[in-house]
């Protein structure tokens, strides 16, 4: 996305993402159980939960940092570290597992030299395992960003990765 910030006050960039998040925090001040919806918004906006932003949440919603960390670390959807440029998610749902999805993970892990749940050193790829993506008809399934790859074998992986490596 092309983010053009206007600089009207001496190079002091208005951070659009921060503004959006601030608005959501404001809206959730009076919502019962509003912390998790706010964390979702931050995760979607930044791709992870930056500590600076969590500090703002703590102050605005009057929830101690320890509790926020407790909640954020409990749920696997939230990440406290930034992720790679391309997120590779391999379905490890039962239908895909039975059709050999573990082989895809092993191959990706080898090709990219990265463990599941981790990001490559160059920050290009994050390798994740997920549950049923609802596309069992295409099993085994892998998703890179938004693009879905179905009925693939480990040998298809080098070619698929090439599409992203040179970009």
């Amino acid at each position: 996305m092309n983010q053009q910030n206007c600089c009207c006050c001496g190079g002091n960039h208005v951070d659009e993402r921060l503004e959006k998040v601030m608005k959501v925090i404001e809206e959730h001040k009076t919502v019962k159980g509003g912390l998790i919806p706010v964390l979702h918004e931050i995760q979607d906006t930044y791709g992870y939960l930056p500590e600076d932003i969590l500090k703002i949440v703590s102050k605005e919603l009057d929830i101690p940092m320890a509790e926020i960390f407790g909640v954020a670390s409990f749920y696997s959807y939230f990440s406290l570290e930034p992720k790679g440029e391309h997120i590779i998610r391999v379905c490890l749902g039962t239908a895909c597992y039975v059709k050999g999805a573990q082989g895809l993970i092993d191959r990706l892990s080898k090709e990219l030299n990265v463990e599941v749940g981790k990001t490559t050193e160059d920050g290009k790829f994050t390798l994740e395992a997920t549950r049923c993506l609802g596309a069992c008809g295409l099993a085994p399934v892998m998703v890179i960003g938004e693009k879905v790859y179905g009925r693939i074998t480990p040998d298809d992986i080098p070619n698929i990765l090439k599409e992203y490596q040179d970009k």
């Binding site: 959807y77 597992y97 069992c136």
Partner: protein
């Protein structure tokens, strides 16, 4: 209202969307415009048709022509030939629907013939983002009936009469749950929909939300009236973006039509619904954990009692039901509890949705009357096992369930029969396994899942699943012993007895049921150090069959660790001590002389 001579339904379920069905939809719109027939042809995006295996799926009415595995490049031809000239493109039709040149109705095909659609009745039929279509198919009729002609007690009576039991896994009688919650006295009550669909290989609830979101909204509103609540929450997985989006649209439309909000149908009953997103914790499907999560905390279960019906969300009486349970309610109200109770069996009424997957020809979503046999579902509807392989087992109930074998194929599908055989109905995952599936590996897969998802609140579950997994790891690596099998059984029983919530209480099931039905396979792993299905890498050996080897040396050049040696034109040999079992040689041999055993 516009009249269309033909309708093109394009599947917008997750399966088909993943293979670009939305681009196909756009292409249809473009092509239809090109031919100047956009006023005659209606193009509708629907929810899942069920036969996801053949996706992307497109159906053209009035003929009911079922196009399967449609590519963008095919659209031009379908429009020019079928829509303009009235000649269906036979090449692309689902072969089961062609009968001597005539197009058979879908209901005559093996996949649909034995199905009966109540919860899925609108999926693949209406545009889920258009409330008018839902209304045209009797939508909100049940709500109108309830609010204008029935008392809350009568509503509960009707649900009790239907015999409906919870579809989220537990199978608790729904009417009774409504009655208990209605009887709790409080200034505030809540209605919750459990759309956290935790079974890692299933997508029933997701398809209902994607294909017919209003049915769930309507049912929750009816439930609110019955128990005396004015606020509802839908707790849905954040990993289901299409479902979340369609729910948002549906809630907005329902509010605009006055079907949610204040004074619904001009009565003094008010009800509204909020969406809350799950965040990737399986245990949050457990009802008390789910409510802790809505309240903004870590989603850990609480001891029961108190039950949600007495003290749930924010300590108020709360009714919690599963998506599919709700989806049955509008039809029960419109057609009567007795109508529903006339389907199914004595103790399991109505129908059940299953997500068929694994080694089966027709992967997809099916809804069948209770009491149908596993054989009918797997062979008649599912089309059997592909590639001429042999059926080995079917797993139901996901990580809480168990495996059934060929000898159980004629078992009727009912809550109590499945439980008696050591499996369970569960929420609807049904995974078929063939001779190439290793049952020890499958058991390990489920246990790895539950160990990972244990919330850690109680020790038997947290430590016990870890111990069991360590043993299973040893077994698949060829380091297991016979005593390990007894240890697994012992540990499993302890975890079941001592855990706080359903996750721990059921986590050992996949292991215990495979130990019971497939003990031979475990013994092969621990005694003979072999994996009969050829899955467990550490137990496999790559060998070259001397008689077949022509000594071309292709394999030796492929091996990354130089484990293969020999003289050109005489048989080669693999040094087992050096071999790292990468499998690279296997595919390279032009004479199929290398085997993995």
């Amino acid at each position: 209202m516009a009249f269309y001579r033909s309708q093109v339904l394009v599947c917008g379920g997750t399966g088909c969307t993943s293979s670009d069905s939305m681009k196909i939809l756009e292409k249809f719109k473009e092509e239809v415009k090109k031919h100047n027939i956009e006023n005659e042809i209606e193009i509708v995006r629907t929810g899942c048709f069920g036969l996801c295996e053949l996706g992307p799926v497109v159906i053209v009415y009035p003929e009911g022509a079922f196009y399967s595995r449609v590519q963008i490049a095919d659209v031009e031809e379908i429009v020019a030939e079928h829509l303009v000239k009235g000649r269906p493109v036979t090449r692309l039709l689902y072969t089961e629907t062609i009968d001597e040149g005539r197009i058979k109705s879908l209901n005559e095909t093996g996949f649909y013939k034995k199905q009966e659609r109540i919860a899925l009745r609108n999926c693949g039929v209406i545009d889920p983002e258009n409330i008018d279509e839902y209304i045209a198919f009797d939508g909100y009729k049940a709500l109108a009936k309830v609010l204008t002609t029935m008392t809350p007690e009568q509503v509960i009576e009707e649900v009790k009469k239907s015999g409906l039991r919870g579809r989220g896994g537990g199978g608790f009688p729904t009417g009774l749950k409504w009655e208990l919650t209605a009887k709790s006295k409080a200034d505030q009550k809540y209605v919750v929909c459990n759309a956290d669909e935790g079974d890692p290989g299933a997508f029933m609830d997701r398809s209902i939300l994607e294909g017919d979101p209003h049915s769930v909204l309507e049912a929750m509103t009816i439930a609110g009236y019955a128990i005396g609540a004015n606020q509802g929450y839908i707790y849905v997985r954040a990993e289901y973006p299409i479902a979340v989006q369609r729910l948002k649209v549906a809630i907005k439309q329902a509010r605009e039509y006055g079907l949610l909000g204040k004074n619904i149908f001009g009565t003094d009953f008010s009800f509204d619904i909020e969406i809350r997103l799950g965040a990737g914790a399986f245990v949050c499907g457990e009802e008390t954990a789910l409510m802790n999560s809505i309240e903004g905390r870590r989603g850990m279960p609480n001891p029961k009692p108190p039950f949600p019906a007495q003290s749930g969300l924010w300590e108020k009486p709360t009714l919690i039901n599963n998506v599919e349970t709700y989806a049955n309610i509008p039809q029960i109200i419109v057609r009567g509890g007795e109508w529903f109770a006339s389907k199914g069996t004595e103790k399991s009424k109505g129908t059940k949705v299953f997500a068929l997957g694994g080694k089966i020809t027709n992967t997809g979503l099916v809804e069948v009357p209770m009491g149908i046999t596993l054989r009918e579902v797997i062979y008649e509807i599912g089309g059997g096992i592909p590639n001429g392989k042999k059926f080995k087992a079917v797993q139901t109930g996901g990580p809480s369930g168990g495996c059934l074998t060929a000898e159980h194929l004629d078992t009727p599908i009912e809550y109590d029969t499945l439980t008696a055989l050591g499996s369970m109905m569960g929420s609807g995952g049904m995974i078929v396994m063939d001779e190439d599936t290793c049952m020890v590996d499958v058991a390990r897969f489920y246990l790895d899942f539950t160990r990972d998802e244990s919330c850690g609140k109680c020790t038997p579950c947290r430590i016990g699943t870890k111990r069991m997994l360590e043993i299973l790891d040893r077994i698949v690596e060829g380091k297991g012993t016979l005593e390990d099998l007894d240890k697994l059984e012992e540990l499993g029983k302890q975890i079941k007895a001592a855990s706080l919530c359903g996750l721990g209480q059921t986590a050992p099931n996949p292991v215990l049921s495979t130990l019971k039905h497939f003990r031979d396979e475990y013994i092969a792993h621990v005694v003979d150090k072999k994996c009969p299905a050829g899955v467990c890498q550490a137990l496999l050996q790559y060998t070259i069959i001397e008689e077949k080897c022509k000594g071309c040396s292709l394999c030796a050049r492929q091996c990354p660790v130089n484990a293969i040696s020999g003289q050109v034109k005489s048989p080669f040999k693999i040094d087992q001590d050096k071999c790292i079992k990468c499998g690279a040689c296997l595919d390279k041999c032009p004479f199929k002389a290398i085997v993995k055993k």
